[in-house]
Symmetry: C2
Subunit: 304 residues, 2 copies
């Protein structure tokens, strides 16, 4: 099935204790779209770049069968740039610079050919824009959305509005707690369900992910990576793998939501093994399937 | 099979945001022994109390078929007392007081009838005393041990010695990192394996537990509790359930180690649902088995 993706398209400069990348292809829409492209087609990307956006990145996205009709190119503007530096344990990072450029006035206009997209994945952008996107889609089957601390703190009312239109909210631990003022993650997830989404996924980094619905709780393990090079984009890749699997199978049963969480985790585990998007640029279906099975092995135990 | 347990026996006064308990039965040996008593017999307890130790606690432990021949009673002394207050999120606590009393000069002398114990669980006490215990046991099949930040920081050399005699080390995340100076938990576990134990279990509280051996990594989920009343003793109960299951089955294969981790997690989940040891004082085998199966359900997913 079709999957519409909206979010940022950026040039990221990242430093970690293990190396650095300069002006690498990044942004939430890019990470989501690449991850999802291993599962379904067409992927329809809505975003904005400046005239300086490298042609090689356009070519790469097209090679991955990502439809770029919805990618606005503001010729006289500059592409959104972000720079960050991760600390030793990779759990905390400092933002070195944020140059919004053309992203500052991003107005997500959905091409007519995109308006019947069955699945929608809203990257982490202003909740007002997320809502604007959803309103342009005719009866999507499933809307998956992300958000972040910044929007929870600065636009709580607008966020509440878009939450009503989301079927699945994907957040990390601290976002779940901030949104609900509830330290217990299970309680936090259940409170979010009362706000709109019927599925809440809480990403816990090295501790895996939780899937919570009114009836189900599923705990996915994290892949035991000894060497994490760059966590940038892992959350978006998780959402992309998750939404991509659901769009591929067009099955939103509880059992398939669990598989989607593990496919999201699978793609995210590849992402953090290399710098920026390098880890997910050229995966084979065999490698994805092998790692999915490793996730099964990792959490499997029986009765005796 | 027989299980020897050594550790503290204490009277705990605990405050959490949900209530308080005064001079409740506690201590690492007590929590370990109670948890293990649901699986195997005899449980042999080695510890020390003062003449003020309430008779009802002795009676309770005896009712649970815990052999108290190794419990020294110093009639003229006072029992070890500990007081703590948990913060709102239950992840941090302040120690309000520590009165070591008779525990200060604890000399773990193993009764002759205990020296052939097949399984040994060393609660969190001075590594010098842990070693003294192990040296008194004739060829134990499996030695499971715990430690804490205090011993890692103050007795690193003595800890290194006892680690060589441990088959399984059970620690929490921060202890694993402190012991190895390694933020990555998988790497930390592998470094600990180089120090002696062939099995390392890292307890992660609300994020479950990791079992790491040279060949296996197993990720156990945490039971999704919405209401945690008192985390005191949960780590000891985990170790007791783990060691108790292994002693019962006398099977230390990788598959059975995984089951033992889940039985440990099962007992710990009951423990934190009530104050001090109340949650594990009167469990039925049916309740334990039901919750074990809930753990299976919680992490189960399949291929499609």
């Amino acid at each position: 099935m079709s999957l519409l993706v909206v979010g940022s398209v950026a040039l990221d400069s990242v430093e970690t204790p293990f190396g650095k990348a300069k002006e690498a292809l990044g942004g939430s829409a890019v990470y989501i779209a690449i991850a999802a492209s291993y599962f379904t087609a067409p992927i329809r990307l809505v975003g904005v770049v400046g005239g300086d956006f490298p042609k090689k990145h356009i070519e790469f996205l097209e090679e991955r069968n990502i439809d770029l009709e919805g990618l606005q190119v503001v010729q006289e503007g500059k592409t959104f740039r972000w720079g960050g530096r991760y600390h030793y344990d990779l759990n905390t990072r400092d933002t070195l610079f944020t140059e919004l450029n053309v992203f500052e006035k991003f107005n997500p206009i959905i091409p007519v050919s995109y308006t019947k997209s069955a699945y929608v994945c809203l990257g982490n952008i202003d909740p007002v824009l997320q809502r604007q996107v959803v309103e342009q889609i005719q009866k999507p089957r499933l809307v998956v959305g992300d958000t972040m601390n910044y929007w929870i703190e600065t636009k709580p009312k607008e966020l509440t509005e878009i939450l009503k239109a989301m079927d699945v909210l994907v957040v990390n631990e601290s976002e779940a707690r901030l949104l609900t003022h509830e330290p217990n993650l299970i309680k936090a997830a259940k409170r979010i369900i009362k706000l709109g989404p019927r599925v809440v996924i809480i990403k816990k980094g090295e501790h895996g992910a939780l899937l919570v619905t009114e009836e189900t709780i599923f705990s996915a393990p994290a892949y035991p990576l000894e060497n994490i090079y760059d966590p940038t984009g892992a959350g978006d890749v998780f959402a992309g793998g998750f939404a991509g699997w659901l769009a591929k199978t067009d099955d939103i049963s509880a059992e398939n939501l669990k598989r989607a969480v593990v496919y999201g985790s699978t793609l995210a585990s590849f992402c953090v093994e290399k710098f920026s998007a390098e880890g997910i640029k050229d995966l084979s279906h065999l490698r994805i399937q092998d790692r999915y099975r490793s996730f099964m092995e990792l959490s499997r135990f029986d009765e005796r």
